[in-house]
């Protein structure tokens, strides 16, 4: 770990301004990902801005009947919130499928969205990785790629986004609220928040330099059955091979997002009208133009079969 300067931010706007001003600054909240990456010298910030004191830890009802979740609400608290459990069960279930009790106690809503990939080549600083060292190449291409992306990947990067929560947020049409270094606020639809790797896989989100997440909002509840199905070799404490986040209505219509298949939570709205026709039709649209490796081609069938099980459960 390289020596770094540490300061506690006094307001969101000041935090954003400081982060934009100071070269190599990072925000720190729960630290469940960043601290590990710093110990391994994958992240080497010279300056940490602690945002834990910014009182962004409330869950509120919005005037539209939706929900506004402060950036610092801990995963444990969000998953246990009565309104979340009642109206956004998908979100609660996705969070409880991730990490461990101890990690969820520390991890924040904003931090969860900003988790970095678990690609083992990203984690080994001896190996080339365009995400860690832009231009160095991608060792996962042609390497161990069982966990990796099957859609939306590029020649530069086939990493996946590891979050469960973000997959549910994508299915629920969340919006990410931020404050920019000039103090202005903006709202970023979750669909536009995470980026595909393209040839700049080190740029993972739509956030500008210094921009700080202040909250995530959810539109008013959409009803339906909320099912989060995470598939993994180990029964707990493992990242998803694939996951399916679905909200299915009584008439069979619905929405579905996938985890573990792409550089971001994966949702193809154009495929959703096919949901009443069944998993095969819907997953064909979801996974159109897939480019799996030999090691992860099984994910295509796994998505179709898991979605099939989810639709069966929704009908039950």
């Amino acid at each position: 770990m390289k020596p770094f300067t540490y300061e506690r931010a006094r307001s969101p706007a000041e935090a954003a301004a400081a982060a934009a001003r100071i070269q190599g600054a990072r925000f720190i909240a729960g630290g469940t990902n960043l601290l590990d990456l710093m110990k391994l010298q994958i992240e080497t910030p010279g300056y940490l801005i602690d945002v834990n004191g910014l009182a962004l830890d409330k869950i509120e009802t919005t005037p539209e009947g939706g929900m506004r979740i402060g950036a610092l609400v801990r995963n444990t608290d969000l998953a246990a919130d009565d309104r979340v459990r009642r109206d956004y069960g998908l979100l609660s279930r996705a969070m409880l499928a991730g990490a461990s009790g101890q990690l969820r106690n520390k991890a924040t809503t904003a931090g969860n969205l900003l988790q970095r990939t678990r690609c083992p080549y990203f984690y080994d600083t001896n190996q080339p990785c365009n995400k860690r060292r832009p231009g160095s190449g991608c060792a996962a291409l042609g390497g161990f790629s069982r966990q990796h992306a099957v859609v939306g990947a590029s020649e530069a990067c086939i990493a996946t986004h590891p979050s469960d929560m973000a997959v549910a947020m994508r299915a629920l049409d969340a919006t990410v609220e931020t404050v920019r270094p000039d103090g202005s606020a903006r709202s970023i639809p979750i669909a536009e928040f995470h980026r595909l790797p393209g040839d700049t896989p080190h740029i993972e989100t739509a956030l500008a330099a210094g921009e700080l997440i202040t909250a995530v909002t959810l539109p008013k509840p959409v009803g339906g059955k909320h099912i989060y199905r995470k598939v993994r070799d180990r029964a707990s404490y493992a990242f998803a091979l694939i996951s399916v986040a679905a909200v299915i209505q009584r008439d069979g219509s619905g929405r579905v997002a996938l985890g573990g298949v792409a550089h971001k939570p994966w949702r193809v709205e154009a495929a959703e009208p096919d949901l009443p026709r069944g998993a095969k039709a819907a997953s064909a649209g979801l996974l159109a133009d897939a480019t799996p490796t030999r090691e992860n081609a099984f994910k295509l069938l796994l998505v179709e079969r898991t979605l099939g099980a989810v639709l069966t459960e929704a009908r039950a």
């Binding site: 770990m1 390289k2 020596p3 110990k39 391994l40 010298q41 678990r118 083992p120 080549y121 984690y123 080994d124 001896n126 190996q127 060792a139 042609g142 390497g143 161990f144 069982r146 199905r229 598939v231 993994r232 070799d233 180990r234 029964a235 707990s236 404490y237 493992a238 990242f239 091979l241 069944g278 998993a279 099984f298 069938l301 796994l302 079969r305 898991t306 099939g308 099980a309 639709l311 069966t312």
Partner: protein
Amino acid sequence: MKFDTPATTNPIDQLKIIGKPTDRIDGPSKTAGTAPYAYERHDIVANPAHGYVVGSAIAKGRIASIDLTDAKAAAGVLAIVTAENAGKLAKGSLNTASLLGGPEIQHYHQAIAVVVAETFEQARSAAELIRVDYIRAEGAYDLAAAKNSAAKPATDEDPPDTAVGDFAGAFATAPVQFDATYTTPDQAHAMMEPHASMAAWDGDRLTVVTSNQMIAWGARDLATTLGLPRDRVRMISPFIGGGFGGKLFVRADVLLAALGARAAGRPVKVALTRPLIFNNTTHRPATIQRIRIGATRDGRITAIGHEGWSGDLPDGKPETAVNQTRLLYAGANRMTATRLAVLDLPEGNAMRAPGEASGMMALEIAVDEMAEKLGLDPIEFRILNDTQVDPEKPERKFSHRPLVECLRMGADRFGWSKRSAQPGRTRDGRWLTGIGAAAAFRNNVVQKSAARVRLDPRGVVTVETDMTDIGTGSYTIIAQTAAEMMGLPLNKVVVRLGDSTFPVSAGSGGQWGANSSTAGVYAACVKLREAVAQKLGFGSADVVFADGEVRSGNRSAPLAKAAGDSGIVAEDTIEFGDLDKKYQQSTFGAHFVEVGVDAATAEVRIRRMLAVCAAGRILNPKSARSQVIGAMTMGAGAALMEDLVIDERSGFFVNHDLAGYEVPVHADIPHQDVIFLDEVDPISSPMKAKGVGELGICGVGAAIANAIYNATGVRVRDYPITLDKLLDRMPAVG
């Protein structure tokens, strides 16, 4: 004490303390955090500096240059040791690769430097500033590709080839033939406590506090490596947070702590970081195994052959996966062959039940497959081919072999009769369920073992031996042994372990530790009893030690009285004669497993497990049970998820942390039962016990594989059995 004739009745048979389920005597200190581990022994080594190990970034080749300029100038740095400035180093007899590489590199993450600094963070930060230029060389990293170049290993232990009768002829003419190839992947010990050591020099005397299963081997190899006389090295390792064979040898942590301490002129502590452990240390090597079985139509084996291939660095050792096949089932015509390829992966070596753990994973699927081919129940097929003699030498009997009883009792208790013989027929909601079984088999090895016992004036007996407790419960069974022998309650016995100044024990490995080390304590206690009787002027023939007293005829005296003012010390070594040549000594068991396989996703989840074990006298049923359920859990990991994945381009294990190398968590392991058959084996030792710590992993993986087949009808011969290997043959969804 020489043990060369079967044991007769002795004080252990009283079973007042031995054989009783007993809490660990070190349990309270472990629970309270007062059992000190190597990295925290500041009571022995005050104010140590911190060493951080740098691993090679290439698997094979040479260091062209190494630039320490920036690292040396970094804050807090006291010294940096590399092969260039370490002085002359030899290699310990049990190490295959050098513990400090350079200029030649033998494997990925081979240590090439240790940075010593005031704090751990400073050492780690400075380590990142070391600039190394490598010259890469081509290496061999793929066992399947290297298989044809594999050769007979040069080993004085197990013969590379065995043959009895005419295997080829008998197999060719057998009415029913089975021939299949299985693979097991490289696996990591993944123990909780990392390899960790503290080192302090006093002139040319070195004291190391470390985490090591075999103190005498370790002290010897460390002295050899450093070119020191053996008596200049003291090794201390009283508590060990898991080893599983990964700590049988000195590793880079202890050598680099010693070298770092010498360079820095002050004590140094070094722990290997988790991402380094997987490639820096040893692992269980992958195997390819071909098994052929020929049988009559009524199910009698006429020919059985097992060939195994594994790889290791030059001058390394094979994974002897074929060994159990020489002994487990009858059959007049037999062969085994072990071949070793040269691979440039990290060093392969022992991991819990080396040989049998991997061999049984293959053999016990093959037996299940052959039974199905014969139309026989797989339990009955095993029973039909039981043998009470060494099949290679029929004049040589097993000391005790209740495999059939284990299988029958397990089948009864587990509800085997409810198993559908047709696979893929049982469903519970979204789950396809199935039941599988396998035999368990692991040889019983005995090793010379010494102990010293001291009776003090308070009537307390202190046992000292360099035996280790790797989480197994050694402290407790040794205390039980001394208490039983001396007629004392457990709280009047003190046990001190893991110090090279103590008499040399069997150590912890190969499941020989419990039986051999307690037999050594038994021998020392026999001597102490004689000394006590003599001191009290009692005839030793009828003397009884009970309730803290010594009795002979109508005379009695408190044990403490015999100690006098200065106490009595006795020391002895149990030395084993050739009973293990006259008799085949092995441990037996049967594993039963029920699994559910998700009909849509093919995720495999274990529902319940049972092991029935026959392993001689069970010294402490509580800690023995813990050993068996731990081994069953490890076997579940091997069956379902553990896999050191090789990047065959650059030659290293890619998933080198505990997020990438998955071992079972609580949610993977539901109900486990263990039954021990009531058994004593007087051929084994005066304790009449045998090993049990490794039996539990032998066969359990195959029982899981067989249960998955029973649930799904899909036979997977390549471990681990992950969902991608089942998915395209699962039933339609919905």
